[in-house]
Symmetry: C2
């Protein structure tokens, strides 16, 4: 079955190889009856398109690369945070609807992603998260469309799908302020340039400033974006802080904080209110369930694919491989559950 | 950079194209100095192997397909259950170490996976979970090595990585019996032939029988393997059952059961003990934390890749594409946390 070639389809239909190729790849406006003739022959003969051969001829592979951060260089992908698996699930689904397959990879510290993109002749790349300047220098952005998810890197030709993270931090903090909290802690991953943590911090600071509340240095805490790291910092520091609420910039951290406060006998939300960010499935798994800043991760994955697809279609039309850039900012909303309560200031 | 060809490397080194190709693909025993010469030229010229071209010539693509179940046909992959993202993370990591890339996909209801495997010239396929007979008939097992993870399907040439699920069900139930429980519920997904649920049920039944305990029909419950489905069946049925413990065949279900019992004011473990299966990260996220039957998911993903790799190496050596089959059964152990307590029968 796998050995039927495009030539066999041409013989079967009496059409030229070029015409059959156009019909298969939808490249030219052929009469509908011609396309139907080819499709019927394909079905009858069991012809299967070979992407390796097709890739060499047309310079498209119908492959999209998705880059997921690693816990540390050369290690496994950071799927401990369900954000990544939820968005990958959406990307794979929407790519499939568009006829693309997805190569997923953590990046190798000792190999530029450029190599993978060239080796596989990827049609496009979706990069999730913030990486070092070095990594982006290794991306073949001039020849392949790149969509960045949750990165503030400004680079010619890169498209971006992200949130208004300043607004997100502002929303969360305002919600806590409205519930009477004034001593509000902040827990995030490293606040690096171009990353979401710094922007969410800026939103927190803005809300506190506008409300005339002072931020005490020790209230601003940093640890790895993970469950165990959040437990540890809670045990070591947070339990002893004079705060009534804490805003965690990732649900995975907030769930760790709640778990540890439970273990320490500190009641959530009566003693400390906890606010998350993401609205992952796990926000429902903990007791109390997590009040959080909700983003639509399924939509985020969809938009990343659609931006890529739009560029690929434009390229095809104009015969060039140059990306116009573009930005898609998705909305945020507070999801109220049980982990925040009102207090009298 | 991407346009340097193998011919350029040959010109640069003064070697034949065939020799350069052997050096790049490690096919023949060349003198070390020849290999080094080629490697230096590759570095100097910036040659990047093109897998599309290489795939057509050598009939290997260094691509592995990973099939993940979908929530329903034509929908997104079931990453709600973190088991899948944890094993995918391990598969991608170990494949990367072996120089393979991973195409991940939910299967399309209207397209046989055979097509993807042929189109992409996949070197091997790892299938996670149990699928319909139809799906497996569509797998090109005669030409491509297939490793099944968690499937009891017996088919010539398929390799398998799995658990002793009967033993797993037996372990869990025995643990509960040892803690004084006699009225033990059982909650799983659909117990279909060839799937893990049926085997875990058989282990539960065996332990109950050996202990001389009767299983009441209503104690055996079935719902989708998900958090919300488990909550729903807990609210509808479990709260009203005369049981002191329940064994859930997946942590994602057990976490849903605990969450709902918490909401209903039924204390875990004092009123009902809850036992899971998998030892996912989320077993720590709920309060109380989940006592469970632990499997090593990272090792499971590693073994799946290693079995595939072993076959590919054998094929290469013997020049044939025939799989010898084989089986790898990973160990299980009870992970004690807080969700099971001792009672006086």
């Amino acid at each position: 079955m796998g050995n039927v070639t495009i030539k066999d389809v041409a013989n079967e239909t009496g059409l030229s190889i070029a015409t059959v190729s156009y019909a298969i790849n939808g490249k030219k406006n052929l009469p509908p009856e011609t396309v139907q003739k080819v499709q019927e022959a394909i079905k009858r003969l069991g012809y299967i398109k070979n992407y390796s051969a097709s890739s060499l001829v047309s310079n498209t592979s119908h492959l999209i690369g998705v880059v997921i951060p690693q816990t540390e260089p050369g290690s496994a992908m950071v799927f401990e945070n369900p954000f990544y698996s939820q968005i990958l699930s959406s990307i794979e689904y929407h790519a499939r609807l568009r006829g693309y397959h997805v190569i997923v990879s953590g990046t190798n510290a000792d190999e530029k992603y450029f190599n993978l993109a060239s080796q596989r002749n990827l049609d496009g790349v979706i990069v999730i998260g913030a990486y070092s300047e070095d990594f982006f220098n290794g991306l073949p952005s001039e020849s392949i469309p790149v969509v960045l998810v949750d990165s503030y890197l400004q680079k010619d030709g890169y498209s971006q799908v992200k949130l208004d993270d300043v607004q997100g931090g502002y929303l969360a903090t305002s919600y806590l302020l409205e519930h009477g909290h004034e001593k509000i802690g902040f827990l995030s991953g490293r606040r690096k340039e171009g990353g979401v943590s710094l922007n969410r911090y800026n939103g927190y600071e803005k809300a506190m400033n506008e409300a005339g509340k002072k931020i005490v240095n020790e209230w601003v805490m940093t640890c790895n974006v993970g469950f165990e790291a959040a437990r540890k910092i809670t045990r070591k520091i947070m339990g002893g802080l004079d705060i009534t609420a804490v805003f965690c910039t990732a649900d995975i951290m907030a769930v760790g904080v709640i778990r540890e406060l439970n273990s320490m006998g500190i009641r959530v939300p009566e003693d400390i209110s906890v606010m998350g960010f993401d609205n992952l499935n796990i926000a429902n798994y903990c007791t109390p369930s997590l009040t959080t800043v909700g983003q639509d991760i399924f939509e985020k994955g969809k938009q990343a694919v659609e931006m890529l697809y739009k560029h690929l279609a434009e390229e095809e039309e104009k015969g060039i491989r140059k990306l116009s850039g573009g930005e898609c900012i998705l909305p945020l909303e507070i999801i109220e559950r049980e982990s925040v309560c009102r207090i009298n200031a």
